[in-house]
């Protein structure tokens, strides 16, 4: 057992990738699902083990093959990613339990076993994105996750052929983004001769502020990552991809995929870029901040006009990513803290929403639109009330975790005296009420009367786990805030914890 635990940092990534290869050859979809669950339970226990190691020994750097930094690839588990690692493990387990019935009805039954192979591939590579400490290795994981998620999205063609166009669109835009990122890596490597993050920071600090090649390289990297994490205006691939993918896939990606990449994005910003403070400030104040504000409003307003609910949620994701990048664009501890808080909270909120809508989708056997769900609050009360809880949290009402996010974002903006931005954020959160209430009105206050139908516990239990955790973290917010403050402190202050 000890042998495993020593390599836990690598295993959380390697294990899903390995099992993915095995599952591809298993004919029974039930067995494939079961193996996936077992793998992810093991994955979760590894993450907990990692967390315990982290809390007693601090940052863990895992060097593959014991090659020291400039030569070998290394993983790093520090304050920045420990929280996301735990959330990730727990969330993918819940989503996988939920995914079984969704895959059975949304994907061609012959493929539903093999889908778990892609599913694990996506999980392993996303975890790699969270942990890697090597800028080229990140590119590899980005591409594995992109390819596996594109395949998963295209599986949505079983119910709607538009999934294929969405997948193709994502493939082209995603590949361009990844290639931009590689160009940036090339520049950085040409200037420093290293790919390791820690080493890169040391090498870069030798250059004065005037090195154009480095700025060009960094800009390419940042733009590539912005494409991948759907920061406005590079978000166009996201809404169709999320809305036509099988619902379980939308859940996984909406909750975690963009978040994992955003974590690396802030690492580049605050660990590498902070060497050139002047350049960082220009990027944050004149590029990221305005783009985030536009994203918040454009995403919210487009969401208001959507009829298809999965599309509505996807556009709301654009706005929510806007809130996260808005918080990250505040160059101090409180801002980064708020960004991390919202990363955690929004993962839960949007995951829960997509799960609930996914269940409505398979019981409708059609697209979930505002018309088609009329009166479904009476037909499927358990799922609908979970959706209500998640939605209230999205608006940011007290006693839900969305409120905690809002509180910290306001606090960060306030301490930096950005009063106009506070007003805009408050206004946008009120606009969010409009699109959310359109759903609630159709669900619960429709003249169509239905008898309550029995619901599938295999689906509503995972949904309610998420919904209850939303309330729990809304009342006892200290867990999330602590993880976020560890993350922001180790980013901003560069502390080892």
């Amino acid at each position: 057992m000890n042998i495993f635990l020593d390599d836990a940092t690598a295993l959380v990534v390697v294990l899903p990738l390995l099992i993915a290869a095995i599952i591809a050859f298993i004919p029974s979809s039930r067995l494939a699902w079961f193996i996936t669950i077992v793998t992810l339970v093991f994955h979760l226990s590894l993450s907990v083990e990692l967390f315990q190691n982290f809390s007693s020994f601090g940052t863990i750097i895992y060097e593959f093959g014991n090659w020291p930094p400039p030569w070998g690839i290394s993983f790093k588990l520090d304050g920045v990613n420990i929280g996301l690692q735990l959330l990730f493990s727990a969330f993918v387990l819940v989503t996988t339990i939920y995914s079984r019935k969704i895959f059975l009805s949304e994907i061609d039954p012959e493929d539903s076993g093999k889908a778990y192979s892609l599913w694990l591939l996506a999980i392993g590579s996303l975890n790699g994105i969270i942990l890697t400490n090597d800028i080229f290795n990140l590119f590899v994981f980005l591409e594995i996750s992109a390819l596996s998620s594109i395949s998963l999205i295209s599986l949505g063609a079983g119910t709607n052929r538009k999934a294929l166009l969405a997948a193709f669109n994502y493939l082209v835009i995603g590949a361009i983004g990844a290639t931009f990122y590689v160009i940036g890596v090339g520049f950085a490597y040409a200037m420093t001769g290293t790919l390791n993050m820690n080493d890169l920071i040391i090498q870069l600090s030798q250059y004065s502020e005037g090195q154009l090649a480095i700025f060009a390289g960094m800009s390419f990297m940042l733009i590539g990552l912005m494409v991948k994490s759907a920061v406005f205006p590079l978000h166009l691939w996201l809404p169709p991809a999320y809305s036509y993918a099988p619902s379980a896939v939308s859940t996984l990606f909406a909750a975690l995929a963009t978040k994992a990449i955003l974590i690396f994005f802030v690492r580049i910003l605050y660990e590498v870029f902070s060497i050139y403070n002047g350049y960082l400030e220009i990027f944050l104040d004149y590029i990221l901040l305005p783009l985030s504000l536009i994203a918040i409003f454009v995403g919210t307003i487009i969401a208001i006009y959507q009829n298809d609910i999965k599309k509505l949620l996807a556009y709301s994701s654009i706005a929510q990513i806007g809130y996260i990048t808005l918080a990250f664009s505040i160059n101090d501890n409180s801002g980064v803290l708020a960004g991390f808080v919202h990363i955690f909270n929004h993962a839960l909120i949007k995951g829960g929403l997509f799960m609930a809508v996914g269940y409505l989708a398979i019981s409708l056997n059609d697209r979930v639109t505002l018309e088609s769900i009329e009166g479904y609050g009476q037909k499927y009360p358990i799922t609908s009330y979970a959706l209500l809880v998640c939605g209230l949290s999205l608006i940011g009402l007290p006693l839900t975790n969305g409120f905690i996010s809002k509180l910290y974002i306001f606090q960060a903006l306030y301490s930096n005296e950005m009063f106009l931005t506070i007003g805009l954020v408050a206004l946008s959160s009120a606009l969010a009420v409009i699109y959310f209430w359109k759903i609630v009105e159709k669900l619960f206050f429709s003249s169509k009367g239905y008898e309550a139908t029995s619901e599938d516990p295999a689906i509503y239990i995972p949904i309610w786990i998420i919904a209850l955790s939303i309330i729990y973290f809304g009342i006892f917010s200290s867990t999330i805030v602590e993880f976020s403050s560890i993350a922001s402190e180790s980013l901003i202050l560069g502390g080892s914890n």
């Binding site: 390819l147 294929l164 590949a175 290639t179 590689v182 090339g186």
Partner: protein, 120 residues
């Protein structure tokens, strides 16, 4: 002028990259888009490899004759990137095949027309 000659690999890279992007954006045909994507990616690979070239350098084998050699690491990285690029193209073509099966066309404007008809 000497700058231009010295940095000619940069210019070749930019021309290739831009033409790749141009194809992706302008062509209506999905297969051509994949070709454009491949050109775009390849331009970056070529650039990477050319950066590692040192005049008169050889393969990094330690012997008494040669003491100037090219950095092997970019080649290794690009090998990985090429594999990724091939996988991307393969997956893209597989999706195009499925699109053809479902829509009967791989032309973007024809598919858009059909979608519009479906919606109306």
């Amino acid at each position: 002028m000497t700058d231009f000659l010295y940095f000619w690999n940069h210019f070749a890279f930019v021309i290739l990259m831009v033409s790749g992007l141009f194809i992706i954006i302008t062509s209506q045909n999905y297969i051509k888009k994949i070709v454009g994507l491949a050109i775009f990616q390849t331009s970056v690979f070529v650039f990477f490899v050319s950066l590692a070239k040192i005049i008169d350098g050889t393969a990094p084998i330690l012997n008494s004759v040669n003491n100037v050699y090219s950095n092997p690491l970019p080649h290794v990285l690009i090998l990985t990137a090429i594999v990724v690029g091939v996988a991307t193209s393969a997956l893209g073509l597989a999706i195009v095949l499925q699109i053809y099966k479902n829509y009967g066309s791989v032309e973007e404007n024809e598919i858009k027309k059909e979608e519009l008809k479906e919606n109306s």
